[in-house]
Amino acid sequence: MDLENLTLTKAKAAIEAKELSCLELVDSCLKKIGAEDGGIGAYLEVYADEARHAARKADGKLATGDALGPLEGMPVAQKDNLLDSGHVVTAGSKILEGYVSPYSATAVSKLRETGAAIVGRTNMDEFAMGSSTESSAWKKTSNPWDLSRVPGGSSGGSAAAVAAGMCVAALGSDTGGSIRQPASLCGVVGLKPTYGRVSRYGLIAMASSLDQIGPIARTVEDAGLVLSAIEGHDRRDATSVDAPATAWKRRQDLKGVKIGLPKEYVEGISELPMGPAIEAAVKTLEDAGAEIRPISLPHAPYALAVYYVIMPAEVSSNLSRFDGIRFGKRETDASLKDIYFETRGKRFGDEVRRRIMIGTFALSAGYYDAYYRKAQEARTLIAEDYAKAFDQVDLLVTPTSPVTAWKHGEMSADPLAMYLADVDTVSVNVAGLPAISIPCGLVDGLPAGLQFIGPKWGEGKLLEVADVAERAFEFDRYRLGE
C-alpha cells in the first residue's frame, strides 16, 4: 500500500478495513522524516513518542469496536507559531529560543481532543514574515519537488511536510497568503478560513486583523475535515465569530455555479510561464459546467500597498512584547534600555526589523494619516469591491501565485520583489474572506495553484467547487512518487 500519498479519507477506510493501523501510518511518516527530512528540512522538532502514543490509543479504541473520528490517530503537523503546552515554540525566531508554551492554542487543543497524532512542529519564516521560509532563524526548508527551490512561505515547513508524505495534514497560518502560496508551490491544498472562523488564541500574532489558522492537506475533502476540527467560536479570541459550522456536499459538476474571473488579476497572464496552465484550468471549470464571468475589482491594484502598510503597522505593535523581559532570551542585564535594544537588535532577523520599522513609520506622527489611515480606508474600498462581485457570482478564481517555486536565494536580495509575489493572495486577507488553493497542473515540472475566493462564511461553497475542480484537474497523476 502506498502509505506516502494516503489522504485522511483513504487512510481512515484502510484502517477500518484492518489493512493498516494508525501506528503503522504514523511510523511510516516518522520513517519518511528520518530518511528525507535531512534534505527537505520541514520539521524543527519531531514528537515521535507522543505521536506513537496517540496512534496506539486510536488503534486500541478501534480494537474494542468503537469507531474513530476523522482525525483520530492521524499524523498531523503544526507550524512553529502555534503554542502547544509543554513544547518549545519559537515562531522561527531566535528571540524565542527555548521558550516553552505555558498553554495551548485553541486550534491545537481541538486537534488533540480529536485524538490526532501530532508529529511535530514545522519550519516557517521568522514571525511568519516571508514567502519562502528563507527568513527562518533555524534552518532551510526545500521544496520536495526540487530541493534547489523554496517551498514558499511562511508555512513552508507545513506545506513541504504534507507534500513529502511526512504527515497527512498540517496546520499553517495565513496573514497575506502564507497557507495558500506554499500549498501552491508544493502541489498541495491550502485553505485560509474567513477571518473569525478559527480562534487565534495561542497563535503567536503577526497582524491581528489579518491572521488566520488553516489546514494544508492533500485533498479538498481532507482540508475540510481539518477545518471542521479546528473551527468554532472561542471566548478567548474576541475576534472569533459564532458562525454556523462549515458544511458541504460532494457535487458531480459545476452546473449552475457562477465563477468570476477578476480582470485585474488575470490580465497579462498569457505572457506569464504559468498562463497556459491557469487558462487550461479555467477552461476545465467551464467544461465542468461553471459559467465563467469577467468581473472587475477596481481597487485591486492598491491591495498589495494596503497590506504592506496595515500588516507592518500591526506587526510593530504585536512584536513590541518581544523585549527580553518576560520570556525568550535576554541579551544583557546592563540596563533596561540595553535589554530592549540589544535583545531586539540581535535576536530579530533582517525582515522582522525592516517590517517593524516600516510599521513604526506608518504609525508615527506626521505620517499616520497619509499611510495608516489611508490604508484602512482603502481596505474598506477593497472589501466593498468583493461584496459587489459576490452579488453577481458565487466565487472568484485567480492564480494563487504569479510564479512557481524559485531557487533558494533568488529573491532574497530585494525584499520588494518578494512582496510582489504575494499579489494574488493579500487582498483576500485585507477583506477577511475565505480562500482555497488547489494544484491545477505543472509548469516546467513545478506545481501551479489555482485560488478560489469565497464570500464571508462561504467555506462550504469553496469546498464544494474546489472538490469538483480537484477531480477534474487530476493533479494526482503528477504527485510525488507516482
Binding site: 503546552s85 521558550y99 516553552v100 508554551s101 505555558p102 498553554y103 477571518y195 473569525g196 486583523s209 471566548r235 475576534t239 472569533s240 465569530v241 481597487h299 491594484p301 492598491y302 498589495l304 500597498a305 494596503v306 504592506y308 502598510v309 510593530s316 513590541s320 523585549d323 523581559i325 518576560r326 520570556f327 525568550g328 542585564d333 546592563a334 540596563s335 533596561l336 534600555k337 530592549y340 535594544f341 531586539r344 537588535g345 530579530f348 526589523r353 525592516r354 517593524i356 520599522m357 516600516i358 513604526t360 513609520f361 508615527s364 497619509a370 489611508k374 480606508e377 482603502a378 481596505r379 474598506t380 474600498l381 466593498e384 530585494d414 525584499p415 520588494l416 512582496y419 477577511g432 464571508k456
Partner: protein, 101 residues
Amino acid sequence: MKLSKQEVEHLAELAHLRLTDEETARYGDQMSSILEYVGKLQTIEAAAAALSGTDAVNVLREDKVEACDQATRDGIVKNFPKKNGDSLQVPAVFGDRPVGE
C-alpha cells in the same frame, strides 16, 4: 519616499532596535523602495469609513478575576529569563538616572 539616515535612526530608536551603521544604511535603502511602492495609496479616493477587519462587535465579558491554573502559572514563571524566586527580575526602571534627577 527616501528615508534619510537620521530618519532610519529615529525609527530604530522608536522601535527599540540597536542597528549597526551597515544595517541602518541597508535597511534605509530597502525601506525607501518599499515606502515608494506603498506611496501609491496617496492617489486613492476617500472611503466612507475605515474597516476594523472583524465582524465581531462589542465583545464583552464580566469584570471578574479568573484565576490562572497552577500549571500555566508555573510555565510562565519558568520562562522568565531572570528570576528571584517566583518574581521576574529586571534592572530598576530609573536605574540609569542619577538620584535626585
